[in-house]
Structure formats: C-alpha cells, structure tokens
C-alpha cells in the first residue's frame, strides 16, 4: 500500500544517520583497539599488542573479575529485592496494585546522579547513617568502612537497578493466566509447590531479562565507583576511563571496551536464546 518513494523517504534518513553516528563510532572502537600509541600520538598501525597486554598483565584480569563479582552481587541483590516485590504486587496487593506499581516505576526514571549522591551523603564517615548510629548509641565513633568500598558500590547499584529488575518480572507475572495457578491449587499443590512449579518457571523470561539488565549495566558502570567506590571499589570501566583521560592510551582503553562489549553482547544473545526456550507462548 505504500509506494517505493514513501518507503525510501522514511527509511533512508534514519538508516544513514544511524550508520554514520552509531555504526561508524562503534566500528571505530574496534579499529582503535588494533591501533597503537607512539610518543603520545595515535598511529594507525594495525597490531594485536593491546590484547596481548591485557592477557599479560594480571591486573586487568583481577579488576575484570572484581567487576564481574560486583555485577553479579548487584544482579542477585536486585533479584532478591525485585522478585518478591513484583510477586507481592502481582498476586497479593489487591486494590492498591496500580498505586504501588507507580510508586516503583517513578524512581526508575529519577536521575542516576541524584540517587548516587544520596548514598554518598548517607554512608560517609560524617554522613547521615553514622550520625544516626551514634545518636542511637549503637556505635561511639564513626564507622569508616561504609563508604569507599565495593559494598557501597553494590548497595548504590542495587538501589538503582531494583526497579529495572522489577519491571520485566512484574510484566511476566502479570501475563501468567490465573486459571493455571488456581488449577495447581485445586489439584492439591500447596502455595510453595505452586510457586516453584508453576509461577517461577512461567516468570523465567522476565527474571532473565531483569537479571541480564542489572548485570550488564553494572558491568560497564564507572560512575558508582568514582562516587562511592574508592580505590578498593575500582571497576573495569574506571580503567578504561583513565586510559582515555590521564594516561592517554586510547588503543588499550578501546581494547578493554571491546572486551566489555563482547561480554555484554554474548550475554544478551544467551539470554535471548534462554528466554525463547522458557517462554510459553
């Protein structure tokens, strides 16, 4: 029904724009990772030394593993908070459902920086939590280990990603046909057995989507470590950021970015496959 001219007019501009401003920049990232720096200047000399450096120096692997541990903790914590919340809202919240749902999604879009900053003021040694602990006579001197630690990074990112994880889980719980749940109970399964044998498997696509999201976005985060992580909370993206800034070794930074990108894309690919396997329609 649409003419060829119409189709060309609607598809050509976004196609050109996205190729120029998205595909080309991402391709440049790959290209840089095979270039080199000599005497403080970038030279377009193709080589794989950057990747060799990454393998040779255990520091990079250490930081990458720490980053993955942090990202996995964030994923797990946000699932432990987000799943029960979604389950409660979907099955038990009654008439307040709509209001509660909106209460969860509002912070979803509220500034990352505002939420990160809030944790900084709470966790600091002069911060609100320490003030409270001393006021309540639980401690007598400020507790110093709260801020500037991997723990603070996990806490802040969990706070940010819990609503993100909640959303797809809630959507998949809402899609579960209620008669299935009733049937399971009519046939004699208890609530726990119904949950593990009917509800949890059917909500798997949402759970996977949320978990991947939390993991992937935490994996590439560099702001939380700068804000609340300190040196013990340094993550892989901080190394990239330093290489692109003070150290000025773009090719090496690009090589690490490519690694992050590949981990991210393979995880997304894997989740997509798994989601298809688990989805029931």
């Amino acid at each position: 029904m649409y003419s060829r001219a119409y189709k060309t007019i609607v598809s050509a501009p976004p196609l050109l724009w996205v190729s120029l401003f998205l595909l080309l920049p991402y391709a440049l990232m790959f290209a840089h990772s095979f270039w080199a720096v000599q005497d403080g200047a970038l030279v377009h000399h193709w080589n794989i030394d950057n990747y060799r450096k990454l393998l040779a120096n255990p520091l990079y692997a250490d930081v990458l593993f720490r980053t993955m541990r942090i990202a996995a903790s964030v994923m797990l914590c946000s699932l432990l908070l987000g799943y029960p919340l979604a389950y409660y809202l979907s099955f038990h919240s009654g008439p307040r459902k709509e209001l509660l749902y909106q209460l969860v999604i509002v912070p979803l879009w509220v500034s990352y920086l505002v939420r990160g900053y809030a944790w900084k003021t709470i966790l600091g040694s002069e911060g609100v939590l320490n003030g409270f602990l001393q006021y309540a006579h639980i401690t007598h001197a400020p507790v110093g280990f709260l801020l500037y630690s991997p723990f603070a990074v996990v806490l802040m990112l969990t706070h940010i990603y819990t609503p993100f994880v909640f959303l797809p889980i809630y959507a998949s719980l809402e899609h579960i046909p209620r008669p299935l749940v009733e049937a399971s109970q009519d046939l004699g399964a208890g609530p726990i057995s119904t949950f593990f044998r009917v509800i949890l498997p059917l909500s798997m696509p949402g759970l996977l989507a949320g978990a991947t999201f939390a993991f992937v976005l935490s994996l590439g985060d560099f702001l939380a470590p700068l804000l609340v992580g300190g040196s013990s909370g340094t993550m892989i993206a901080n190394i990239v950021q330093t290489l692109f800034g003070a150290v000025y070794d773009w090719p090496l930074g690009a090589a690490i970015s490519v690694c992050i990108l590949l981990i991210t894309l393979s995880l997304l690919f894997l989740t997509e496959r798994l989601e298809k396997r688990w989805s029931f329609r």
């Binding site: 409660y88 909106q102 911060g127 991210t264």
Partner: protein
C-alpha cells in the same frame, strides 16, 4: 483479573515488600530532608531547618547557566531523536530493506550497552571528524542515543493505530504527504508527546555519555558532578531535590498520557462492532 482471589494472606511477604519500598525511597527522603538542614549534610537528627541552601542555590550563577545548557541540549535531543525515531519506526513498520534486522538491533544498542561504550565511541568519532567537544557534541550524542527510546515508543504507537484510516485516505485521493500530516501524525500524537517527555527527562539526567562529550560548558549533572569533588554541601541536596521534583512531575505527566492512550485504545476496541 480482579475476581482472582489472592492465594492466601501473607503478612510476611507484605512486610518484605514494605521493606523494599523503604529501601527504594529512604535515600531520597534523606536527601530531601537534609536540603533543609542548616548544619550541613550529616549528623542526626537534622536540626535547625532552614531555606538558606535554596536561597544560596537561587543566587548561584554557574548552576543556572548549566540548567540552561541542559535545557538547550534536551530540547535539541528531543527534536532530533523524535524526527529520526519517527522515520525509523515508520521504516520498521512499513518498509523492507536489506539489513532491517541489523538496523533494529543497532538502534537499540545505546539503550542496552553501558553508557561508557557509547560515550567513548562517539568521542572517537568526534575527534576523528575534527569536531570540537562542546554542547553540540553532547546534543548529537544524546539525540543519537535516544533514537532508541523514540523508535521503541513510536513503533509501539504505530502498532496500535488502525491502518485502514490511512488506506481510506489514500483511496479517496489524498497524497501520501497529506495522509502523513492528516492521519498518521495525529494518530501518533499521544505517543509523540509521551516519547518526547521521556527523552527530555533522560537527556536532562544523562551523565555517562555526556561525561566524554562535554566541552567547556557544563550540563547540570556534570556541574553537580564537578562540585561533588570539592566536597558536599546541602546546596547540592537542594538542587537534587529540585531535579527529583521536576523528574517526578514529568514522569507523572508521561504516565498519565500513556495510560490515557491505553484507555483510549481499550475504548476503541470496545466500540468496534
């Protein structure tokens, strides 16, 4: 679904859900509370409530310059990403071209990838093409990255609209151009407003991509970021509180528009024979 009776009352689960809500909201409440605290951020309980920090904030030139910069960038990003996102949504909905599946994935990448990847890629592109880093590069970055949001929202909007109206318009002799302005666009009005609000909010708050594309003039998040290094004062709480309030207001409007859109759609379905 309303007739579905809960499996059974579970106070434990309800208490747990309440705790999660406390976890989500407590930091924000603390942040707001301490923006009124005369003695700075920290200490407990907050004493001597004052509006001094807001007064200081309103007299703070650089902050308001950065607000203006952020507004300019966000307005530009909305215009750019809505235009390209609308075309992309139409293309995905109606045209077939080589690489369509790849295009669909590529457009969504900035939404899924960590901001640092997109930010650095765009930085390399800017440097290679000889662009000076400035608010223009930030605007191009936001506008391009947020095509993802515009495309998703508008594609969903297109799927909901009734295509027979466009068919009728074309059959009755209107040109495709007239049909676009008189049928396609008005049908997408709600989706356009909703997407625009969302993109505006996201652009105003964006920091990870902006971090690498910023020149001499700061956006509001980057201005706050710079100040955090110099130590924290309740003035930052005050400005964060205002950002929070504006974000919430915009999100509520966005949500209203969306639910109204869904409501209208449901009604349309009911009225159809």
């Amino acid at each position: 679904m309303s007739h579905f009776s809960p499996i059974r009352r579970s106070p434990l689960l309800a208490a747990y859900a309440a705790l999660v809500f406390v976890f989500i909201y407590l930091p924000l409440i603390v942040l707001i509370l301490y923006s009124f605290n005369r003695d700075g951020v920290g200490g407990f309980p907050p004493q001597h409530l004052t509006l001094d920090w807001y007064r200081q904030l309103f007299a703070d030139g650089p902050i308001w310059d950065s607000v203006l910069n952020s507004l300019l960038v966000a307005a530009g990003a909305v215009a750019l990403s809505l235009t390209l996102g609308l075309l992309a949504a139409l293309a995905l909905d109606r045209a077939s071209f080589p690489g369509k599946a790849l295009f669909r994935r590529l457009v969504l990448l900035p939404l899924i990838l960590p901001g640092i990847i997109t930010g650095l890629s765009l930085l390399m592109f800017a440097v290679l093409s000889g662009m000076q880093l400035s608010l223009v590069t930030v605007f191009l970055g936001h506008g391009t990255a947020l095509i993802s949001v515009a495309t998703t929202e508008l594609f969903a909007g297109l799927q909901k609209t009734d295509r027979s109206q466009e068919e009728a318009s074309l059959d009755l002799g209107a040109t495709p151009w007239q049909t676009f302005w008189r049928i396609t666009l008005p049908n997408l009005k709600l989706s356009l407003v909703a997407a625009g609000l969302l993109i505006f909010t996201l652009s105003m708050d964006e920091i990870a991509v902006t971090f690498f594309l910023i020149g001499r003039d700061n956006t509001l998040p980057l201005e706050i970021w710079g100040r955090l290094r110099r130590g924290i004062t309740p003035e930052i709480n005050a400005v964060s509180t205002l950002i929070f309030a504006v974000s919430v207001a915009l999100i509520i409007i966005w949500y209203r528009i969306r639910t109204r859109g869904i409501g209208a759609e449901a009604q349309q379905r009911l009225e159809r024979p």
